[in-house]
Symmetry: C2
Subunit: 673 residues, 2 copies
């Protein structure tokens, strides 16, 4: 008798690992590249073990809890986490961050650590720091970051909350003058935070001097009751973040002392004089760092989804190979369409990881320029970093979110089961398409930067661009824009040459940026009428950067199977991006019809090549089963027993008969008995 | 002082309705087209009112409940619904269906009515019907449809559950011989069903005679306890359907009488003789009907999402129009990118509605052919319907699901709040990408049908195709495939000519089908190696059908503003599909580079034209606020008060201080006090 499916699944995963091109040493090369080296990866595992060993922190039964239950359990986790950090004397942000990632969900105090404390550190005067910083670090006060309002999101200039300075009492009076001025969405604002950094429009003698930040106490430190004049609560369940009390808050004539305005870069003196804000360039650089960090989170999220779905697709068989009953069944991973969904996602996880690392390096070298007093170069680098990090963040947040959902659907019915964990991964990450800037706003910032560089080159304001610059390709604009230019590839495998592939991406990006410049001129700079083209320009440049950064990271590998395998993955990533946007390359016959087909053929050709090592390429991330928390993504492939076991945990199964039977079904069934 | 945002929002929606091109009479033309006429629409509203007036059925607080709570409440709704149906003497499936839609969520007995009863009606002998049908119709027995297993989904041939006939006792012995043979996923199987239609592999004297259907009792009608040998339970929470007890079931030597096998089309006689199944063509036609019906559900789901997001985008302002503080803010609906997301979705809701109607008409005319004894024509029509309904279902399930998610993200933070209802709409519909066949399987069926027709034409087996046939364009294959063929449009607005637009879609579909035929020949019919091209062929044909069906429905409008407006929407739909696949049209320079840009320009040109009537075009669906159940999609635009009001319902807000405070936060905050 043939082997049972439940036993076949683990066998198939073992076969995948045995038949790939990477032995343990080669696999380790990939892992160390993804995980920042041997030591850091080992430490990451130690920290994860701390979470796994803790009965509270390792609890993953969130799918059975509603928002209220998840919030209360989330607070229990927060308190437990803080004890763990203290016990193990963890102090570096990096280590605490690893612990947090190991929790597998976002918690109410994430923004206390991630925003509240950093704003005190960077925006408070030394005196203010003396008052608040240690208390915040010790969790004697718990903070929220209250910028967004019901009526206005990322548009800070639309903020309606007001702060009026009263010279007589040396106080600011904070009000929510309209329904839409209530703070809305800040994490931990609803039930957790005792304090908040509140952004409000400041009025001095009735004069509007812009939006500034204030430290406000919201709740009593004795009994947690809201203070007078403060209405605060939870905004209700959301997509993702349901262990967090995203909240609302309205202010009714709340008085706070003058020194509760954050005064490091802007001041209101006791006589009401306004000292204009100094520009703090490091703040902008911090934003770049936050984005680079977000790319890392995105990379891990899509890496997990790709790992779960690839393992499932290797372990799952479906569809007879032939008509005979002994012909066996295809592994789902052998289907071309399945490969087309999953392999670009494996590549995407690598690409965003490499991009994040590169952006952190760029950030660090910019900081160095500043330290060396090279103001002009720093300014240029900052503009570049701000521009590209906007576009890359927008592109990746979108593609990673869509990619995780595509991975989930690729698992058929078992992907729909929450125990696959794919829906949870999606829900906790898809917010990144909105927070820290929506795509529409970000692609505009990116496109405007590209236009500015092009214009500077065209007008001679800028004569050279470093070849290391991410916009270096624009120096070749006239060459790339030339409509007689022809792509040189003659065979699909010519695109294995990553340089050639990247050249095509450069030509495409150039042409769209030049077309955008033309459209902006033609429309008298009506940027709304040019938004579609702006999006295309940002997309084309982001894709160029992702592929070229990927290719550079491949170059750093020592020659060998690991390098070859990751290089194929990079080639597949590039080919898939070209195929998805083929028309851009057909523009003025840069690609011929035959070359367009050749790109499609190259993609189809690379699928079985990547197929050989698909499971090892996801194994290289070294996600633990605890971390993946997925019945169908287990390392050992024992997915069917896991599904059966997890179903037994469903609370409805605690009794044979549900409580609604007596009340509603029995009367129905036995009506005439 | 400027008007407050909360009051501006309703004003803006009123302005939209006043400034569009459609008066009440013109709007009614659109509504009647979408809603199947005045009488049917009026009846729909009456039935919805019955649900709205019922305290149980109108309860929409599902977002605060976990799976167990939703299931038990779902059963309460089922019992209430049955009483309502009895009380109002509703008998037609159409009316009961409208009631069910008005509930806004899927419930445990949906498949009792939708599958269990119909299978008894069509597959049972008259004697069997006598035993089961009335009991099922009266809900004295509650049924599940148990086909899918843990190890095998849509691949029925992989089913592992066994039925061995024991001649001595005249019984079948049903077993789940492996872990993966347990039934998995069937709705209502877990806690509700007393009976199930179970698919099992039938063995007669040890000989496998294929998979057949059996009626099995699972639970006692006295106390609802599972019967001996039956293990049954709920598979746990899922994406969507959480009011339903999707379940598992394993059989251990369960004996059922011989006459519990469904024997209308296949028989096991008392002496163990197997009477081979007769092919029941009507069953295939029923599958087409189920798909047409699903298109209607998809149409309504995306129509609701487009309505909610369009209204929100019209009522929401964000971003200053100029630098002056009085310049006001843009309506989000004025942004080009927002229009690019939403308007194709409005068009999609219309397109799928028209497609569904057309498919039902095709189904009815096929039935007529059968009734008239025109076997050959019936066979051809059935093959056509089966092929195209496969591809259209796959395309629409995917695009509607993705479209609802895109609509949700287009609403920024407020789209993430579950009170927008967009996530619920998504979760309840996205399963359609999997159930009734996954995309991979369906596009292959569609592509194979197209190949078959092409081959029949090329080999002269078929000399003509009715111009009304959905594959009529293939009769022009040699003309469309000619690489010297050039598209005639010279200006963007030339594409307002829907015939021209459709011609382009025909050329594209033809070329991909011909390329697929070539690739299949070249690969010796290795369909797995051709899967990407099969998907492209199915996609191209589905898009051609959707646009041409849309255009035909426009033709039926009386001349006037309604016709012009819906015609623009159709043009926008077609242009957006062309722009998304521009390379296909550039193939062998059918489109020049200039014409590719012209298609982009046409899309951009149509956005502001559709913009004028975007809100009325969604109003035309006449979704009630009760039905949309969305804070941000209200007809009156009073979205901000609705958001504040709904947040107050969040259970966490019942107390000022959450229960986790005393346990975990207080000790933390007051540690050193």
């Amino acid at each position: 008798m043939a082997v049972e499916l439940k036993d076949l699944a683990p066998l198939l995963l073992r076969k995948e690992r045995a038949s790939g091109d990477l032995d343990a040493a080669q696999l380790a090369i990939v892992t160390n590249t993804l995980r920042g080296g041997v030591a850091r990866n080992a430490r990451r595992k130690q920290l994860e073990q701390l979470v796994k060993d803790d009965p509270v922190l390792s609890d993953r039964d969130m799918v059975f809890r509603n928002h209220t239950e998840r919030y209360n359990f989330g607070i229990k986790k927060v308190a437990t986490l803080i004890k763990l950090i203290t016990k193990h004397k963890l102090t570096t942000q990096e280590e605490i961050q690893e612990l947090r990632w190991a929790l597998g969900e976002n918690l109410p105090l994430d923004l206390h650590d991630g925003m509240f404390v950093p704003v005190i550190e960077t925006q408070a005067t030394d005196e203010q720091k003396g008052k608040w910083l240690q208390a915040a670090l010790d969790y004697k006060i718990l903070g929220a970051y209250a910028q967004t309002e019901l009526g206005h999101g990322s548009n800070v200039q639309g903020i309606e909350t007001t702060a009026h300075f009263d010279k007589a009492t040396q106080e600011f009076i904070i009000n929510s003058p309209t329904l839409t001025s209530r703070k809305w969405w800040p994490g931990a604002l609803g039930k957790t935070a005792t304090h908040a950094i509140v952004y409000a429009r400041l009025f001095l003698e009735g004069k509007d001097v812009g939006v500034h930040a204030f430290m406000m106490q919201l709740r009593s430190l004795k009994d947690h009751q809201p203070l007078p004049g403060i209405e605060v609560g939870d905004i209700g369940p959301k997509v993702g973040f349901n262990s967090i009390d995203n909240g609302y808050c309205a202010f009714d004539n709340v008085h706070i002392p003058r020194d509760h305005m954050f005064m490091r870069f802007v001041k209101v003196l006791s006589d009401g004089t306004f000292v204009e804000p100094q520009v703090d360039k490091v703040v902008y650089l911090t934003m770049v760092y936050v984005r680079a960090y977000l790319l890392q989170i995105l990379s891990i999220a899509v890496g997990k989804a790709a790992t779960i779905s690839t393992r499932f697709s290797a372990a799952r068989v479906q569809g007879r190979k032939g008509s005979g009953s002994n012909a066996g069944e295809f592994q789902v991973l052998d289907y071309q369409n399945q490969q087309l969904v999953l392999f670009p996602l494996i590549a995407l996880s690598y690409a965003s990881n490499f991009m994040s690392n590169t952006m952190i390096k760029m950030h660090d070298s910019a900081l160095e320029l500043l330290a060396n007093g090279e103001e002009h170069l720093f300014g240029e680098k900052l503009a570049e970093l701000h521009g590209i990090s906007s576009g890359i963040k927008a592109w990746l947040a979108d593609h990673v979110s869509n990619g995780i959902e595509a991975a989930r659907r690729s698992c058929g019915g078992h992907g729909f089961t929450l125990s696959s964990n794919l829906n949870h991964l999606f829900s906790e990450i898809v917010g990144s398409t909105t927070y820290e800037g929506t795509m529409d706003v970000l692609v505009q910032q990116h496109a405007r930067y590209l236009l500015k560089v092009l214009l500077a080159l065209q007008t001679g304001k800028r004569s050279t661009l470093s070849p290391n610059s991410s916009v270096g390709f624009l120096a070749q604009a006239s060459q790339y824009f030339n409509p007689t230019l022809r792509f040189s590839a003659q065979r699909p495998e010519d695109l294995d040459n990553l340089e050639l592939l990247i050249e095509a991406l450069k030509v495409r990006a150039t042409r769209i940026v030049v077309a955008l410049a033309q459209q902006m001129r033609d429309s008298n700079n009506d940027s709304n009428a040019c938004m579609i083209t702006m999006t295309r320009a940002s997309t084309a440049h982001s894709e160029l950067l992702l592929v070229s950064t990927f290719a550079k990271s491949v170059e750093a590998f020592p020659a060998g199977p690991a390098k070859d395998t990751v290089s194929s993955l990079c080639g597949l990533f590039g080919a898939s991006l070209i195929v998805q946007n083929l028309n851009d390359f057909r523009d003025h016959d840069y690609f011929s019809t035959a070359q367009a087909n050749l790109a499609r053929q190259q993609l189809a050709r690379l699928l079985p090549i990547v197929r050989r090592n698909a499971v090892p390429l996801t194994d290289a991330w070294e996600f633990s089963d605890f971390d993946l928390n997925s019945t169908i993504g287990r390392y050992d492939g024992d997915i069917y027993r896991a599904l059966v076991k997890r179903a037994a945990d469903e609370p409805l199964n605690k009794t044979q008969v549900a409580e609604s039977y007596e009340l509603y079904l029995k009367p129905l069934i036995q009506a005439s008995l």
